[in-house]
């Protein structure tokens, strides 16, 4: 078994390489994905090895990237589109929401658009505006799209390949500030045996409070769980992985045991994913809850200046504060 230590970025790169090797219909397209290897180097070396007809440097137009990818998909290709930063996806919003998401439905199931839209998302890298956003709710709200995000190198490697192999159009959110974090990756395990793409996973078992997170916040919550354990409180941390459709089987089971739930995401709270999670948990676990479901999120403001993003982003202390508050009811 070939197990290697890889960063999330390198795991994604290796997963993309595998997808290009395994299916000649897979095409990567985006701004600067060729010689540069993308601004985060996620496509590093791929154009050199697979040519400029399979790894395509596109004109600088996001709607064009997604719109032409629709046409390529109609012709039988499986485009993997890179949007350079979260804040730049909006020019493509119509193509994603009105075209990509609806084509299968409109065709009465006769046409599929097997497209992956990769978006580095979230803050924490000290960037200027439009480079740190969390747009997941926009896409999770849209029927016809699926939305996933990874939180560790093993998932990055497997999930990107699963997303490309899926016939569903998938928005694949990459936690950009975690690109450089390392972990063990099993490179040889067959995709067919892999953990299902749209399933959540318990990443730390616990008994006292259920903490739901995804993407960049999973690590924050794991660190909070370690700190809480020192105080004698056991947090169960669930990595949601799939934001649409949500898989809450494990969450329901967990909350029925713990009686307490805290949801954590970087995106603003207002009408965000946390609200949906709180509503569903409340419906399903109403008689087990000892307190309301609490949310730890970014604030309802435009993403702030980099020098105050630490205060904007949920961190270990804010997660623990919410955990404490669940015991206040």
């Amino acid at each position: 078994m070939a197990t290697e230590t890889l960063t999330i970025g390198k795991a994604l790169n290796t997963g993309l390489r595998r997808a290009l090797e395994n299916d000649p219909k897979v095409i990567i397209m985006g701004e600067d994905v060729g010689k540069l290897g993308g601004v985060f180097r996620i496509t590093d070396g791929l154009q050199k090895d697979f040519g400029d007809q399979r790894v395509i440097d596109t004109p600088l137009a996001e709607s064009g990237i997604i719109g032409t990818a629709v046409g390529l998909a109609i012709r039988g290709y499986r485009p993997v589109c890179e949007i350079q930063f979260d804040g730049f996806v909006y020019p493509a919003y119509d193509q994603i929401v009105s075209q990509v998401a609806k084509m299968h439905y409109r065709s009465g199931g006769r046409l599929s658009i097997p497209m992956v839209i990769r978006i580095p998302f979230g803050g924490g890298i000290g960037a200027v505006e439009h480079h740190s956003e969390s747009p997941e709710a926009y896409f999770a709200h849209t029927a016809g799209l699926k939305v996933v995000t990874c939180a560790n190198p093993q998932d990055a490697y497997v999930m990107i390949q699963q997303a490309i192999a899926s016939d569903d159009p998938i928005v694949f959110l990459e936690p950009k500030r975690r690109y450089w974090e390392k972990g063990q990756v099993d490179l040889d395990a067959p995709l067919s045996d892999a953990y299902p793409l749209h399933s959540a996973r318990v990443v730390r078992p616990g008994t006292d409070v259920t903490v739901l997170a995804y993407g960049p916040m999973v690590r924050t919550c794991l660190e909070a769980a370690t700190a809480a354990a020192e105080d004698g409180r056991e947090l169960e941390v669930i990595d949601l992985r799939s934001l649409s459709p949500l898989d809450l089987t494990a969450a329901y089971e967990s909350v029925k045991r713990t009686g307490r739930a805290v949801v954590v995401h970087e995106a603003p709270s207002n009408i965000g994913l946390g609200a949906e999670l709180a509503a569903r948990i409340t419906e399903e676990c109403f008689y087990s809850l000892e307190s309301p479901v609490l949310r730890v999120t970014g604030f309802d403001i435009p993403y702030p200046a980099a020098r105050v993003e630490e205060e904007f982003l949920p961190d270990l202390d804010r997660v623990l504060d919410a955990v404490d508050r669940t015991f206040g009811w």
């Binding site: 004109p59 064009g64 193509q95 569903d168 749209h198």
Partner: protein, 391 residues
């Protein structure tokens, strides 16, 4: 006219003695049949390309038949809307020649990306005209498999399909299906209003830099709902192509022969690997934007009358009569076929059943969704709770 591969054009840059640089009154307009039904042997485009057609009598009669049938079926759909059988209809009245000319210029292997008004192109592709009526009746989302018919689904968001066509054409190149006479090409339909859309301009950029085998076919029908062309552009639309680095030509969109010639040449150039081009089919929307529109609020009767004199069908009929290519018996037979097909269309529209409500949950995702399955099940139980009650 048989579907698929009728007639042919002659491409030549040799100046012909009987050729004309554009049409009378508009030097930029490629025209091969005047509104009075006079044939022009050849016409020269702005880049010196000479356009001509060489049809048999049978093919001329076939084009006339197409034009009449397409107009009649369109009128039937308008009537169905007026009678409450369709929710909406976007009539092509006045644009028959632009659609039949370009639609017949497509070869079997070519792919078309329509707006929501290309009923005439659809007909020329050999597709049952009932197909888009589910959308307008509201019994489905109007869908079909684009690859089965080489005709994409109607696109209602203005201009979005031009990018789809561009991507599809890039795929033709990647597949190595250009460079020979039997190569493939794509055609993107859009209107004058769409030329203001970002997507259309992005499609121009992409098609240009990737040398995509694509024809941009703009039916300039002078209005985007109520807004006249002057609200979209200060230059003739075909001239925009130059700025993007590919040829543009304006053709008399009410002249089925010229439209055929120009489109066939552009498609063949594309399939041979010479890249994209823009055709501006200069025409007029004789009817309303859709059945929900009232054009009397924004245009004057004299303008409509002036275009009435340039009718795309009358000129073909005049030509056929003058040249004794068709007789009264032929015209009567075409009218009878049109009547029969429109009655048949009407009967089938009226037979379209309303869908079962629970089918609204179908085909959201190729691989399905457990949450959606749950919602569907709840909805089914809710609906079943009414069974046997007075409601």
């Amino acid at each position: 006219m048989a579907k698929g591969d009728p007639g042919g054009t002659t491409r030549s840059r040799r100046a012909a003695s009987r050729s004309r640089k554009g049409a009378a009154g508009d030097p930029a307009l490629v025209q091969l049949l005047t509104p009075e039904g006079e044939r022009i042997d050849s016409a020269t485009g702005p880049d010196g390309t000479e356009y001509r057609v060489d049809f048999t009598d049978e093919e001329y009669r076939g084009l006339y038949r197409d034009l009449v049938l397409v107009r009649k079926l369109d009128a039937e759909a308008t009537a169905l809307q007026r009678q409450g059988e369709l929710g909406l209809w976007a009539s092509l009245l006045g644009q028959e020649a632009a659609q039949v000319g370009s639609g017949r210029a497509l070869r079997t292997q070519d792919m078309a990306f329509p707006t929501y008004r290309e009923h005439g192109v659809l007909y020329c592709r050999g597709i049952d005209p009932i197909m888009p009526l589910g959308l307008f009746r509201g019994v489905d989302q109007g869908g079909w498999d684009p690859n089965e018919f080489k005709f994409n689904m109607y696109t209602i968001v203005i201009g979005a399909q031009t990018l789809h066509a561009t991507g599809y054409a890039m795929g033709i190149t990647i597949d190595g299906k250009t460079g020979t006479d039997d190569g493939e090409a794509a055609i993107a339909y859009f209107g004058d209003g769409a030329t203001s859309q970002g997507d259309v301009n992005e499609a121009f950029v992409w098609a240009s830099v990737f040398n995509a085998p694509l024809v941009f076919f703009c039916q300039n029908n002078q209005y985007a709902i109520s807004e006249p062309l002057e609200r979209q552009t200060r230059v003739p639309l075909y001239q925009r192509a130059a700025g993007f680095g590919f040829p543009g030509v304006r053709v008399d969109g009410n002249d089925v022969l010229a439209t055929y010639a120009v489109t066939r040449t552009a498609l063949d150039n594309a399939r041979l690997g010479q890249g994209p081009s823009l055709i501006e089919a200069y025409t007029y929307r004789m009817g309303a934007h859709t059945t929900s529109d009232d054009p009397t609020r924004y245009r004057i009767a004299s303008e409509v009358e002036a275009w009435q004199a340039k009718d795309p069908i009358a000129r073909v009929k005049a030509f056929l009569e003058k040249q004794q290519i068709a007789d009264a018996g032929f015209f009567a037979e075409v009218d009878e076929q049109a009547r029969r097909e429109s009655v048949h269309l009407r009967e089938r529209v009226l037979e379209m059943p309303d869908p079962e409500p629970v089918t609204m949950f179908d085909h959201v995702y190729p691989n399905g969704s457990p949450l959606l399955d749950e919602q569907r099940a709840k909805f089914s139980r809710y609906m079943e709770s009414f069974e046997g009650s007075a409601h």
